[in-house]
């Protein structure tokens, strides 16, 4: 080896360290994930790597995932900011800037210790920074732990490699032991160490240090020998246990409280144990304290200590401690409202009867934190004590959030439920969730409507909400006329969250997105309520249909970030799809695919909504097929085939279109058109105008513009906004082979942000002008426009781009150089003008000649209509 790297503190980990180095030298990787058992030395290796990276000219930064902070967005990165987290999207930008500022041009290595405990937002940011090459990420994960999705996807996306950190082998064990003690060891010790520790570094270290401290290990003739056998413990846990056993009663009690209660506020602990004991445990490096939200929280230095303490704690003792914690916290003057959740959980675990009201309050808090499993448990206990309708509804809600619609459905019909005591509000919530489960969860509009009918006949007073629910079902099923008949604009029902959803969705379906936006007025600003979030997403979709793609994109990214921050999975799915749809039309299909893919995975993972999975997979299918990636498209179609049916067709539009495009590629154009015709007839019958128009547009885009116009019929359309009327105009112009009008429509589409469609229109206009035998200059003008527009988007494999004669596409720089040369400038002059090298000019020019099929500067000038300029 040329360079023999000596890195301090790396004894026994040379090969793992070398693996990190090779990953760093690989251009296709932007990270490594170190995976291994507790105590195997992952953090140690990470630390050594970061120190070495700094020495080698990198700029290293480190963050650590902790259980205490796992629920607080971006907490892990907070220390990198000069000020406190703002709690909004600007944090992401600021953190990135702070890292780059600190690096000052040096390459960045970002270390993430205990990445499995990282909060989702930090994990997402780390993934982004690896993905866009801002930083090389080195993360550690404890075997068997489930890290946030963004961390796993580093591996799945091929951005990072996994490096397994195993226990030491015999040779490494010896060198590690010797470096720990700072002297050589006898063969006997080595054997003994191996038998006991099987090479776990933390275990080796603890064993040796303890043996030396007790005098069992002594230095004789420059060599350590065992004077007495090692202490009795056989496992790391036992060893730590024996260390803990050496502590006084007060110390024990402190450790046990932290073990059962998780990280605890210093104030709370000091009420229960002697403060001196805490200080001594910190000195003994058993406990440590971190500041979280201006409160000092006490935790163990290594999680293994918590496991060890918990394991040796009797169950009765643990219950006793939990009871004390619950009582003390409940009586604490510093108690915050959200502490109810901890109090209730501790009481439960302590086996103390908790009154149903407290449990329900805690369940609501758990729901607010998106911890639906805990909410289910708490509400479940409340239900067992008192089978109220309210508790049943809360459990059902938790089940729905966990995607267990079937169970929720059964529970809501449970005979034990005491309907007698329920208030009208409780019954209302019960009916709403039952209808929700039937429709959104199980996909049956009929069942949902039956529930609402029953409810309505019993409680005419709550009619507005029931009516809005009916409307929302009709709207989601693509029946805008019926939906608006239920929930007329301006009616009381229209002001409820679901009413708002109904109005905005239906008006958009009817091709009146501008009217929809006006009617809704300002954006509802309630993200917590599911209906509020989905209405915001609909608002973004409506903006897209109104031809305001760039605004929709901005709104989408903002919404997505907010959803990530508050842990709202449904919101994240819906916003990702909205962004994907905008990106796909805007000409960034790769990004669109990524958003759809993320959404599908998340929706599937959370199992929260079948329609979400369908929606996202459909988007992915359409993006793949437009990109010409048939394999991916087929894969997505197969996944779609496996999904259960759902009545909410508004989520299937992209799927229908994607399937038709795939059919055109796989089975032939006629099959694709036939499928489209079926959907066109369906949507027309329901008055679902906007999707109908997009389907007809696809008929034209696939190569049948005359048929498309025939399908449009003669009637006038009452559609509004910058997009839909332009699509109608484009279709007519294309069928007439009117290059000028097609180009004009394409210009408008460009302004609306539908840049792909605009580029297709421009390509059509060019082809038409060629076919119509227009003057060469006119053709050139259309060709330049077509090229310009196409340059602005990623490559799309639609017939407008792939069909027809081979294209001449000059890059901006090529065109610039070609123009200058056509005007008679020499290569030297061009080079000076553009401040680039002569050779660069020549290589650009050679490409221009090849593309245009010309052989000289004179011919080039002719193409640009500048004959004579060079002479």
């Amino acid at each position: 080896m040329q360079h023999c790297v000596f890195v301090d503190g790396l004894i026994g980990r040379e090969s793992e360290f070398a693996a990190i180095g090779s990953a760093l030298r690989r251009a296709d990787l932007t990270g490594v994930v170190l995976i291994g058992d507790a105590g195997v030395g992952k953090s140690h290796l990470l630390g050594a790597t970061l120190r070495h990276a700094d020495l080698m000219g990198f700029s290293s930064s480190a963050i650590t995932g902790t259980r205490a902070l796992a629920d607080i967005p971006l907490a892990a990165f907070a220390s990198m900011l000069p000020s406190r987290l703002a709690g909004d999207a600007s944090d992401l930008v600021q953190i990135r800037k702070a890292l780059q500022h600190r690096a000052g041009g040096r390459p960045i290595v970002l270390g993430i210790d205990d990445a499995h405990l990282l909060d989702d937002a930090s994990a997402t940011l780390a993934h982004q920074m690896a993905g866009d090459l801002t930083a090389f990420v080195v993360a550690t994960i404890r075997s068997g732990e489930i890290p946030p999705e963004a961390v796993t996807s580093l591996l799945k996306d091929g951005l990072a490699v996994r490096i397994q950190i195993d226990a030491f082998n015999r040779v490494d064990l010896t060198s590690f032991a010797e470096s720990t003690l700072g002297g050589s060891i006898s063969a006997g010790i080595e054997q003994d160490l191996w038998d006991r520790t099987l090479g776990n570094p933390l275990f080796i270290r603890e064993l040796l240090l303890q043996a030396r401290a007790t005098g069992a290990l002594a230095l004789r003739h420059d060599r350590y020998e065992l004077v007495q056998p090692f202490a009795s413990p056989d496992t790391l846990v036992d060893l730590i246990d024996s260390r803990l056993a050496g502590l006084s009663v007060a110390h024990h009690r402190a450790a046990a409280l932290v073990a059962v209660g998780g990280p605890l506020e210093i104030d709370l602990l000091e009420q229960l144990v002697d403060p001196d004991a805490l200080v001594q445990l910190e000195d003994a490096r058993v406990l440590a304290a971190d500041e979280v939200d201006e409160t000092l929280m006490v935790r163990f230095v290594h999680p293994v200590y918590a496991d060890a303490t918990r394991r040796r704690l009797g169950r009765l003792a643990a219950r006793q401690l939990l009871r004390e914690l619950a009582t003390t916290l409940a009586a604490s003057p510093k108690r915050r409202p959200e502490d109810i959740l901890r109090i209730a959980t501790w009481r439960l675990d302590a086996g103390v009867e908790a009154e149903p009201a407290l449990l329900m309050q805690a369940a609501r808090l758990a729901t607010g934190r998106n911890d639906h499993a805990l909410a289910e448990r708490l509400a479940g206990l409340a239900f067992d004590t008192e089978p109220s309708l309210r508790a049943a509804t809360m459990i059902a809600n938790s089940l729905v959030e966990q995607g267990r619609h079937g169970e929720a459905h059964t529970l809501l019909r449970d005979e034990r439920i005491n309907h007698g005591d329920a208030s009208d509000g409780d019954r209302f919530r019960w009916a709403m969730i039952e209808a929700s489960v039937s429709f959104w969860g199980l996909g049956s509009a009929t069942d949902a409507l039956r529930v609402i009918d029953d409810f309505q006949s019993e409680f005419p007073a709550a009619t507005n909400h029931a009516v809005a629910f009916r409307g929302s079902i009709a709207a989601a099923c693509g029946q805008p006329i019926q939906a608006l008949a239920q929930v007329p604009v301006g009616s009381a029902a229209a002001t409820t969250p679901l009413g708002l959803f109904t109005v905005i969705t239906s008006l958009t379906s009817l091709g009146r997105p501008v009217l929809a936006l006006q009617t809704v007025g300002t954006l509802p600003d309630n993200d917590r309520a599911a209906a509020g979030a989905i209405t915001r997403v609909c608002y973004a979709f409506t903006m897209i249909d109104a031809g305001r793609v760039d605004e929709a994109l901005a709104l989408g990214v903002e919404g997505w970030e907010r959803a990530v921050r508050i842990g709202d999975v449904h919101g994240r799915v819906a916003w990702s799809i909205a962004i994907g749809w905008a990106e796909l039309n805007f000409g960034r299909r790769a990004a669109a695919s990524r958003w759809f893919c993320d959404a599908a995975e998340l929706a599937r993972h959370s199992a929260a909504s079948n329609h979400g999975v369908r929606w996202a997979l459909g988007g992915g299918l359409l993006a793949s097929i437009l990109a010409g990636d048939l394999d991916a498209a087929r894969r997505l179609r197969d996944q779609l085939d496996e999904l259960p049916a759902h009545d909410a067709v508004m989520y299937a539009h992209m799927e229908w279109r994607g399937r038709a495009w795939l059919q055109a590629a796989d089975e032939g154009l006629e099959f694709a058109i036939a499928s489209l015709l079926v959907r066109i007839a369906e949507t027309k019958a329901r008055g679902d105008l906007a999707p109908w128009l997009f389907l007809i547009l696809d008929v034209a885009r696939l190569g049948r513009p005359e048929l498309a116009v025939e399908l449009l019929g003669d009637g006038e359309f009452d559609v509004d906004g910058a997009l839909l009327p332009t699509i109608v105009r484009l279709l007519h112009a294309t069928a007439r082979r009117d290059a000028e009008d097609t180009a004009a429509a394409s210009d408008e589409l460009q302004l609306a942000g539908f840049r792909v469609l605009a580029a297709e229109g421009a390509a059509w206009a060019w082809a038409m002008s060629r076919e119509n035998g227009d003057d060469a200059r006119v053709v050139t003008m259309y060709s330049r426009r077509a090229q310009d527009m196409r340059d602005q988007i990623e490559s799309y494999a639609t017939p407008a781009f792939t069909g027809g004669p081979p294209e001449v596409s000059l890059s901006r720089r090529e065109r610039e150089i070609a123009m200058l040369v056509a005007h008679g400038h020499s290569s030297r002059e061009v080079a000076d003008e553009l401040i680039i090298g002569v050779r660069t000019v020549e290589s650009h020019l050679a490409r221009v000649y090849a593309k245009l099929g010309v052989r000289s500067r004179v011919e080039l000038a002719e193409v640009f209509g500048l004959a004579g300029a060079t002479s």
């Binding site: 040329q2 041009g105 390459p107 290589s843």
Partner: protein, 117 residues
């Protein structure tokens, strides 16, 4: 996800970058002595292949290890800064947009520092 190679504009762009880069390097007294005019074509071809691989071209052979390639050279920090500066300018000439240029530079800088890691 499209590779950096595709997003930058593939072989066509990389040829422009390398042409421009060598135009600059051979004129810069800080580094020009490292480039033998007789071997320039070969060096440029090698550089094209290396950049293509680094950026993720599906067609290229595995590139030479940077450490191996620079083994016999004494390279100062100033020279590194000079070369990286020229590379960044050359990417600009090839019309690589700001964000892609940042990504490309970030990658190349990392690979350079990592060669002795």
């Amino acid at each position: 996800m499209r590779t950096l190679y595709e997003r930058i504009g593939g072989a066509a762009s990389i040829t422009i970058v390398v042409d421009e880069l060598y135009d600059r390097l051979t004129c810069d007294p800080r580094v020009s002595h490292h480039f033998d005019p007789a071997r320039l074509t070969a060096q440029k071809a090698g550089q094209c292949a290396w950049l293509a691989t680094a950026f993720g071209s599906p067609h290229s052979e595995p590139a030479t290890d940077l450490r191996q390639a620079h083994r016999h050279l004494e390279i100062s920090d100033e020279q590194v800064t000079a070369v990286l500066g020229h590379l960044e300018a050359a990417l600009g000439v090839a019309e690589v947009d700001d964000e892609l240029r940042r990504q490309a530079m970030s990658l190349i800088t990392r690979l350079w520092y990592a060669r002795v890691f």
